[in-house]
Symmetry: C2
Subunit: 481 residues, 2 copies
């Protein structure tokens, strides 16, 4: 049996602002152990995969973020990693349909897809893998199979699955019904009945059965997905779909499109610990508390304060005489919210988006295909950045009309082109790039380069970059640096 994990890596996680942002969302956030949910999910996927192949459906904006994380896993064979890149978000049904078409092409109709969102935390991997095996057996018989998380509390934030008649394998039942997020009284009834489990958003499908189910209950989704798929070279490892064709995909979840209507459905009783890190409260739950009930990451001082969650970055957070707060500090924004009002964090992001405030979308540190840059200073008279360029990476050949740049290498050795000159710039050396001069920076070594870039001029917008060559294909769309 061929098992192919399909990772869905979308979703902004706005309830985890200001750490999770549109340009660097929840799956990529650092947990207290330095890992990201995306890295942990990919690690789980590799353990489930038959031959190391994993399909990842994600936004084209997150491609390099994903790839960097995957490459860092020594178990990963990068030649077997496939990326389906969405030009815009269209919910789970289109994403899963496209993944099914790709899996069919690679491994045929008998292959088993295990659909896993990239922002779930599962610590008990052994039990998870066992449960996936059970689900895969059931799926191989043509059942559209879900993972029903054993409910430990009357949660109102999840949909529930009502189990029906037991099937032959232990812990597997037919699905009687999918139900929407309940109110608290209903959730308590569900919990007491023992018949309901949480809908985790993880699934297990045989490719042929899944495509047939699309044909039966959501033929419009399948037709539009085929249109997208037929227009690309699907033999590549990175498939970037056409933006116009992609917008013709209906924006619909796999639950609505198929699962609620299909006939042959199963739910697997899932007892592994599972956390979808839906809010700062969930993040807090991952930490041990001190004797006053405070849960703290980073530098913090507490005085007469109890049961607070504090996530400090580089700066010091001091709390005095307060209880039950969540304090989340980042380089350019700090959130102070009451524990019971974590939903309101979404409203902050909405407000910021409405005002087109960068803090809704970008961090001070911005990730790029070649590495990252951090803005140290952004004033009228200059902009100062720290650039980190990864081994083997090349910034685009570019020039600026409104600013000149001064580069000082502080770690490593860079290959630099300024005008027609090309030379190596060593640690503690600097170079001046005048206005309108073609320049490029390249890391031909096997260690990171760090440099400080001082921009002088009158305008420092990212749109004053004219690209001539770019190994990441950014000459046309002229995106930032």
């Amino acid at each position: 049996m061929n098992i192919i994990p399909v990772i869905l890596s979308g979703g902004a996680g706005t309830r985890l602002w200001p750490v999770s942002r549109q340009a660097y969302p929840k799956p990529f956030m650092q947990l207290s152990d330095g890992q990201s949910l995306a890295a942990l999910t990919f690690g789980r996927a590799l353990k489930v995969a038959t031959d190391n192949t994993v399909l990842t459906v994600t936004s084209r904006d997150y491609y390099f973020l994903c790839k960097d994380i995957y490459q860092a896993n020594p178990q990963a064979d990068m030649r077997k990693q496939y990326f389906l890149l969405e030009p815009s978000g269209r919910n789970t049904a289109p994403a899963i349909a496209l993944a099914a078409l790709q899996t069919q092409q690679l491994y045929g109709n008998e292959a088993i897809m295990v659909v896993m969102p990239s922002d779930h935390l599962i610590k008990d991997e052994e039990l998870f893998i066992d449960t996936v095996k059970t689900a895969a057996q059931q799926a191989s018989q043509g059942f559209l199979t879900t993972f029903g998380i054993y409910p430990t509390a009357p949660e109102t934030g999840y949909g529930y699955i009502k189990a029906g008649q037991s099937l032959t394998a232990e812990g597997v039942s037919e699905i009687a019904e999918f139900v929407e997020k309940p109110d608290l009284a209903t959730a308590k009834k569900y919990l007491a009945s023992g018949e309901y489990s949480w809908n985790s958003g993880m699934f297990c499908f045989q490719v042929g059965a899944l495509l047939q189910a699309f044909e039966d209950t959501a033929p419009d989704v399948l037709a539009a997905a085929k249109n997208c798929f037929d227009a690309v070279d699907s033999n590549q490892q990175q498939i970037e779909f056409n933006a116009d064709l992609f917008t013709q995909l209906p924006d619909i979840s796999i639950d609505y499109a198929i699962m609620e209507k299909a006939k042959k459905r199963a739910v697997v009783d899932s007892r592994f610990d599972w956390n979808d890190i839906g809010s700062w409260n969930a993040m807090a739950g991952l930490l041990d508390s001190d004797e006053s009930g405070n849960r703290i990451e980073g530098k913090a001082v507490t005085v007469d304060a109890r049961n607070n969650y504090i996530r400090a970055g580089d700066r010091l957070v001091a709390v005095v005489g307060v209880d039950d707060l969540m304090v989340v500090d980042t380089t350019d924004a700090v959130l102070i919210a009451h524990k019971n009002k974590s939903q309101g964090v979404k409203d902050v992001v909405q407000f910021l988006k409405a005002k087109a405030h960068d803090a809704a979308i970008y961090h001070t540190t911005v990730h790029r295909p070649w590495g990252s840059y951090t803005i140290l200073e952004d004033e009228d008279d200059c902009k100062v950045k720290r650039l980190v360029v990864k081994p083997g990476q090349v910034l685009s050949l570019q020039k600026h009309y409104k600013r000149s740049e001064h580069w000082t290498v502080v770690t490593g050795t860079a290959k630099v082109r300024v005008g027609d000159d090309e030379f190596m710039l060593n640690e503690n050396e600097s170079v001046h790039i005048p206005v309108e001069t073609l320049h490029r920076l390249e890391n031909t070594t096997d260690t990171d380069i760090a440099l400080i870039e001082v921009q002088c001029g009158s305008y420092f917008g990212e749109d004053d970059i004219v690209r001539y060559e770019d190994i990441y294909g950014r000459v046309k769309d002229q995106k930032a640096q």
Copy 2:
């Protein structure tokens, strides 16, 4: 009558951390209108002064901060500003005794000193000046005169003055008694009785009467003050006292040393508005509130939040579902405190001092005689600063053993010496200063210079500065930059 204002500019204002710090305390903090308490106090002092002469008693650490602020006042004749610089803090009695000796030397025993702490806010300047005139009249008759603030609430944070028999001038009484900070019940009784006023810490003295009172009730203070005074050249405008002699001054307040024991004392009924900005609540009180009762400076987003005070710096502060908090954000530290627990802010500073944490003392922006620097980045591989050098200022001639520096001028033109070369460095030009190379930077223009300094090396401590010449006298004690 010669009236000489004496400004006492000490005090760390730890309850206003993290904005007020030891290296940049409360009098120098920016209020919401961009002014500082020190600037406002100096402005008031100039209006009270007979011939523009003001004496300022302050720490030598704050001398340049004071001088910059005073110079910015177009009414100030800098040739008439006298600074008595304390090598360490010894409370108000020694400070006032030294000011009395200096005033006596300048204007004789008949001169009237008006003692005003530099961290009080008084908006109603006209009434203040009238009240000072009344006090000066009373003082000229040999009375040690205080300003008794008309109490508007049963404050427990102030000492109280009980008025005795009325004196001839309207609103002036003998002092029956000084009383310590009362508990709330006692404070309410004081308020109801109509006989008590708040002890403001402002005084009006005739120099001769004051020195006689020292002689009578605190001869040790006077003797030690005379020792200090006799050891300096008191004809200079800046008098820096000898550190060893200074430590022999008793650490005692003017209230304990003289006012509580003296015989001929008066209190002037003071009806001008008065705020000693003793806590963040007092700062909040200076702002208008929005419709939810929130008082906000800077960039903030509030969701479902009421009656909070938010002082945001450059960063965004978002509060969700919280009431009655004080949130004060600075570049390197953020405070979140309940309104009723503002005293606990002191405990944070105590804790940080015990841990020798820089955030107790320094800001990311550090003020120096020649201007200021802001640390933009401080990592293992480099340190990046923005330096601002004021017109006419010169950094010391110096070198470093463990780092080289790259300077890029972003505003203005600098005169630079590197090794034996001296040249002008213009905007958008940079220069490299290798390890162990003598260098100096000078601003010979009449506008600020801004430059970005990138330090490369293995160690960036402020103690790796070897000074050879320094116009601010820092060659011996080798203080920072």
